[in-house]
């Protein structure tokens, strides 16, 4: 690895939002309504520096686009040293551009969305802090630093989900997200420790270089522990349950953190440390990653079909799409996973912001069934949302088509036909539930709550929607064969990927398009046409168990409540009420009592009289002399 050739500006990418956050924390009240502008400016500047650094990187030859910027030594314990080093390569820069680019747009959007909030500066302080943590996460050159960013985004996620903490639902959702994430974080931390003890270093470069030398069994253990962390942060089975509840946070937060960036941390981490996963015996770790991803994708898509809350539909959709990304990783197609990460960031952020604009216009209404025909009164939101809808459904030439197709083709090329089938089925469901959402909200007769005057998105909000809409349309060119090839670009960082050759890709692409059309058609028949109501009933009668199950989220929360939360609470109660109050407090109070008593005794020496002080001093001298003389005599 070449060291420090370029990217000397990279530390600023993290420092700017961090400074913004600090400024807003300490002087937020004084900055007042300018807080949004300040925050947007810092992240915008970070984006500009990101672009500059990216071009610097492009200026180097393919295969030499990796640079480590060493800032300072952080931990030095014997021969074990950890530096605060940043890794600038293809993978981290793609992430930086996505995080800062989408981040900037969402910051700008928030200026309009949050402008009435009494804690306006605090909100932007959190947003900036989040951006700084996320950027630290993606730029970290060692896993310890990565972990710092990892925990940082977790903290910000908690703070932002619970931003309206006066609402019990928000406070509970924040707690749930934090605790569920902690479970994943613990797994991740143990994974880091396993890696550290086996490799003897924390540096990403060193771990990846020496991953092949780890025993296959140890590599599997490490990889699965790391993936355990990823299931928490990236909301995969079994730890996905926090994400739908996280929608209690302000909508820009859902867009930035719970759709575009933070939830992709796990996806990024697996790609970053892919050699560890590759070193696993018989691809066991990757197979598990792929199947967990596929199962999550399908399962979440089913639930999305039954959900009536506009943001929760999008939340399940996010879980499902993240599953796709893990599926891609599982079939060695890391670049396809990252490609989908990028396009998904565009269209999902777009749709969340669109949903936010709808809620904003409808006085906070989130139920799909109470909306309709909004495209005519909110053209900007409607048209951009349509772009997102077609993108996620996989319609050519929208961004989602290319990235999803790359994943499915890779699965096919890897010989994983089962995974491919699940992926195609999920694509069908995706097209269906997104069409359902789109048609219910934006098409048909105008339905709005009473007494609400519907208006289109204000300027700041529209400013964010339009560029994201454009990116959702044209984002696919990132990896258009012959034009730009993200896959080839990412190769040095994540390894080569295989795509099928000959006629097969065209057949697969055609099939994907057909499936998308099928899903959209179904959605249109059931939700856009006036006779959809009756047809819906007919469908629901055919698979009542599936409908009830999906509507109740398959009772997963209830199972977790009974199997994990209940026993944990009972154990905690025992320790808190019995063990802690009697044993621990007893020991602590006892020790405190002893100290206080001896202090009360000793303080009597401090009489205030110089003669007594001199006596104590003399006593000390005698003691020193007796010690020395005793030693000399002996």
């Amino acid at each position: 690895m070449t060291s420090g050739d370029f990217g000397q500006l990279a530390p600023l990418i993290i420092a700017l939002p961090l400074l913004g956050a600090l400024a807003l924390f300490f002087f937020g009240r004084r900055i007042g309504t300018a807080a949004g502008t300040v925050a947007s400016a810092t992240i915008g500047a970070a984006f500009v520096i990101g672009v500059v650094t990216f071009f610097e990187l492009l200026g180097h030859e393919h295969g030499h686009r990796s640079s480590v910027v060493e800032l300072w030594e952080w931990v030095a314990a014997g021969s074990f040293r950890v530096g605060v080093d940043l890794l600038i390569d293809e993978l981290s820069m793609v992430m930086v551009l996505v995080v800062t680019g989408v981040g900037t747009l969402i910051h700008v959007y928030s200026i309009g969305y949050m402008h009435d909030d009494p804690r306006y500066p605090t909100f932007f302080a959190y947003l900036n802090l989040f951006a700084a943590s996320m950027l630290l996460l993606v730029l970290a050159e060692n896993v310890l630093l990565l972990y710092v960013g990892w925990e940082g985004v977790g903290l910000c996620s908690y703070l932002l989900i619970g931003f309206w903490f006066e609402r019990p639902a928000a406070a509970n959702a924040a707690k749930k997200a934090f605790i569920v994430n902690r479970i994943g974080d613990l797994s991740f931390l143990i994974g880091i420790l396993v890696l550290t003890t086996t490799v003897g270093a924390l540096s990403v470069g060193q771990i990846n270089a020496e991953a092949g030398a780890i025993s296959a069994g140890m590599a599997t253990v490490a990889a699965l522990l790391l993936f355990g962390g990823a299931t928490g942060k990236s909301a995969q089975i079994p730890l996905y349950v926090w994400l739908p509840d996280a929608m209690e946070g302000p909508t820009p937060v859902s867009a930035l953190i719970h759709a575009a960036t933070m939830v992709t941390a796990g996806v990024y981490m697996v790609a970053r440390l892919s050699p560890v996963f590759e070193a696993s015996s018989g691809d066991l770790a990757l197979t598990i990653v792929a199947w967990v991803g596929a199962a999550t994708a399908l399962f979440a898509a089913v639930m999305a079909c039954a959900e009536n809350d506009i943001k929760r539909v999008l939340a399940y959709s996010t879980i499902s799409q993240l599953g796709y990304m893990f599926l891609a990783h599982g079939v060695h197609a890391y670049s396809a996973g990252i490609f989908h990460l990028a396009t998904h960031a565009f269209f999902k952020a777009l749709m969340f912001l669109g949903a936010g604009a709808v809620m904003h216009a409808l006085a906070g209404e989130t139920d799909l069934r109470k909306m309709g025909g909004l495209r005519r009164v909110m053209p900007v939101v409607g048209w951009t949302f349509a772009a997102g809808w077609l993108a996620i459904s996989g319609v050519i030439p929208f961004a989602g088509f290319f990235s999803k197709d790359a994943i499915l083709a890779s699965a096919w090329a890897d010989g994983e036909y089962g995974l491919w089938a699940v992926g195609v089925l999920t694509a069908l469901l995706t097209a269906f539930y997104m069409s359902r959402l789109y048609f219910s909200v934006f098409e048909g007769d105008l339905v709005v709550p009473e007494g609400v005057h519907v208006h289109d998105a204000p300027v700041t909000m529209a400013t964010a929607l339009v560029p994201l809409g454009v990116l959702s349309v044209v984002g696919g060119v990132l990896n258009l064969p012959g034009v730009l090839t993200l896959e080839h670009f990412l190769e040095p960082a994540v390894g080569e990927s295989h795509v099928p050759e000959g006629l097969i890709p065209w057949v697969l692409a055609g099939l994907a398009l057909f499936v998308a059309a099928l899903g959209i058609g179904l959605g249109w028949r059931l939700y856009a046409r006036r006779d959809g109501e009756a047809r819906r009933r007919a469908w629901q009668r055919r698979v009542p168990w599936l409908v009830t199950g999906a509507r109740n989220k398959f009772y997963v929360d209830e199972y977790y409540g009974g199997l994990v939360v209940g026993p944990a609470k009972r154990t905690a109660t025992f320790f808190a009420d019995v063990f802690d109050t009697r044993v621990i407090d007893g020991v602590a109070n006892g020790a405190g009592w002893v100290v206080a008593r001896s202090a009360a005794g000793l303080r009597k020496m401090q009489t205030g009289y110089v003669r007594n002080y001199g006596l104590v001093y003399l006593f000390g001298v005698v003691l020193v002399f007796s010690l020395l003389i005793m030693k000399a005599v002996r």
Binding site: S598, Q606, V621, L627
Partner: protein
């Protein structure tokens, strides 16, 4: 007998000369200012003096020689200590500026004494002869006696100055006796061999082990004398009274500067020069360190006066830093230097907060008066929180790193049980640091405590020290690096 005049190399004591010159200049300038005029330039002049001293000291970085008739060592170690002391003193000047502003007290004398004290402390760090050590010790001690009693209308201040002075004189006598015994045993007061004499270090190499009994007794008395200055038990009795009565900025400077200067001398004397005698001085210092750590921590628990509380805390810290000295290895040396530099900044910050709240009249110094401080002055309370956490040794503060280094050094030297005792003492100490936080955050007060001093300068001292406490707790690498390079002695 032919007398050879020693070469006069003033460059060696350049920083000290700068300070003394500035002090004299201050007094002269002040004499020409009419009554009632603003005297801001006195503080500026003092700051410039310290600035020059820092530059001159920094210039000596990398040099390694003995000068002025082999009485003064110029080495990285001395430079590190001198620079730190100068920084402490500058912060004290800034703090004192706001503290003194509305009083009729003689500002110029205050700064001049501070400059003299700092010069003495600096000289301690580079003294390579016991007579020079004594001289330096007296220079800064006498200045401090006066400064402690500087609040002329306060009976408490007078009383504490008197106590400090009496006990200090008492202690100096023992120290001098120690020097006499050492001279009697070795025939020299010089540390290092050369220039025709063999010095103490050379004597230890050339003489048989049985010849050192008298020397060892002398060393015992040196420990007593220096132990007094660093406030080690049982020579600590003056500390709470003097700290309580002294003007708050001076208390901070005493805690930071005196401790550093005296420990610096101990490091040079015991760890380097008397290293062959470590079997003799170690048991004594271990006993002293254990007593100091435990007694300081335990007695702090029941203090109701913040300045007394910090006094006991500073006693406990003397014990902690002694563990690094007892380790007598490279890590112990650099660890002690790091510890004292960061402890000095933190304790100065803590006393700066006390000063800002107490003001010239030294009111509001009881713990009870800090009730609900967080709700009145969140930034001030936040800074004090940081200082308390650092003194307690909580991670992400410089105090943690310092403790980690000195305890680590003790463990490396095989004194793991000493480190365990130190940690136990830290746990006890945590109790009273947290008590301050509980009072500030969890108790409410309707009186609305307002700072007595609102000056920018005083607040900036709080801000700077708080920033240093936090930054050095996170990015400790560069300072440790410097401290490691500062263990280059003239030897």
């Amino acid at each position: 007998m032919e007398f050879e005049a020693p070469a006069v190399q003033l460059g060696a004591i350049g920083p000290e000369i700068a300070l003394v010159t500035t002090a004299l200049l201050l007094l002269i300038v002040d004499a020409f200012i009419p009554e009632g005029e603003e005297r801001w330039y006195l503080a500026v002049l003092a700051t410039i003096g310290f600035g020059v001293a820092i530059i001159l000291a920094a210039n000596q970085w990398g040099e390694r020689e003995l000068q002025l008739a082999r009485m003064v060592a110029v080495d990285n170690f001395a430079t590190f200590v001198k620079t730190s002391v100068a920084v402490f003193a500058v912060l004290t000047v800034w703090l004192s500026r706001d503290y003194l502003k509305r009083s009729e007290d003689e500002e110029s004398e205050f700064y001049a004494l501070l400059l003299f004290a700092a010069a003495g402390m600096m000289l301690m760090a580079s003294a390579a002869d016991l007579i020079m050590v004594f001289l330096a010790l007296e220079i800064f001690s006498i200045s401090l006696y006066v400064l402690v009693g500087f609040r002329r209308r306060s009976l408490a201040s007078q009383e504490s100055a008197m106590k400090y002075f009496l006990l200090g004189a008492f202690s100096s006598a023992f120290f001098l006796m120690g020097i006499a015994l050492v001279y009697g045993a070795t025939g020299t007061t010089n540390f290092y061999p050369g220039g025709g004499g063999e010095g103490i270090a050379g004597y230890l190499v050339s003489s048989a082990a049985s010849d050192v009994d008298l020397l060892v007794l002398g060393v015992g008395l040196l420990i007593v004398g220096l132990g007094f200055k660093i406030a080690a038990v049982p020579f600590h009795m003056w500390t709470p009274d003097a700290y309580q009565g002294a003007p708050s900025p001076i208390t901070g400077f005493m805690a930071a500067g005196t401790k550093f200067a005296a420990v610096a001398t101990m490091l040079r004397l015991f760890v380097v020069v008397l290293y062959p005698l470590r079997a003799d001085w170690r048991p004594i210092l271990i006993a002293v360190a254990i007593a100091t750590m435990l007694l300081g921590s335990v007695l702090a628990v029941i203090q109701e006066d913040v300045k007394r509380l910090l006094a006991y805390s500073s006693i406990a810290h003397a014990g902690f830093v002694l563990t690094g000295l007892i380790a007598a290895n490279d890590r112990g040396l650099s660890g002690s230097l790091f510890y004292l530099a960061t402890y000095g900044l933190t304790v100065l910050g803590a006393f700066a907060v006390v000063t800002v709240l107490a003001g010239r009249k030294e009111r509001n110094v009881t713990l009870a008066s800090y009730r609900g401080l967080f709700y009145e002055r969140p930034l001030l309370a936040g800074a004090l929180t940081l200082f308390m956490l650092s003194l307690a040794g909580v991670p992400l503060t410089s105090g943690f790193v310092g403790k980690f280094l000195v305890f680590g050094a003790a463990i490396q030297a095989g004194y793991w049980w000493l480190a365990v005792i130190g940690m136990l003492a830290s746990v006890i100490a945590t109790f009273f640091y947290l008590r301050v936080l509980v009072v500030m955050y969890m108790q409410e007060d309707d009186r609305g405590l307002q700072p007595a001093i609102t000056g920018r300068l005083a607040n900036s001292v709080v801000g700077l020290t708080a920033a240093a406490t936090l930054v050095l707790g996170i990015v400790w690498g560069p300072l440790i690096d410097l401290a490691e390079r500062a263990t280059v002695f003239f030897a």
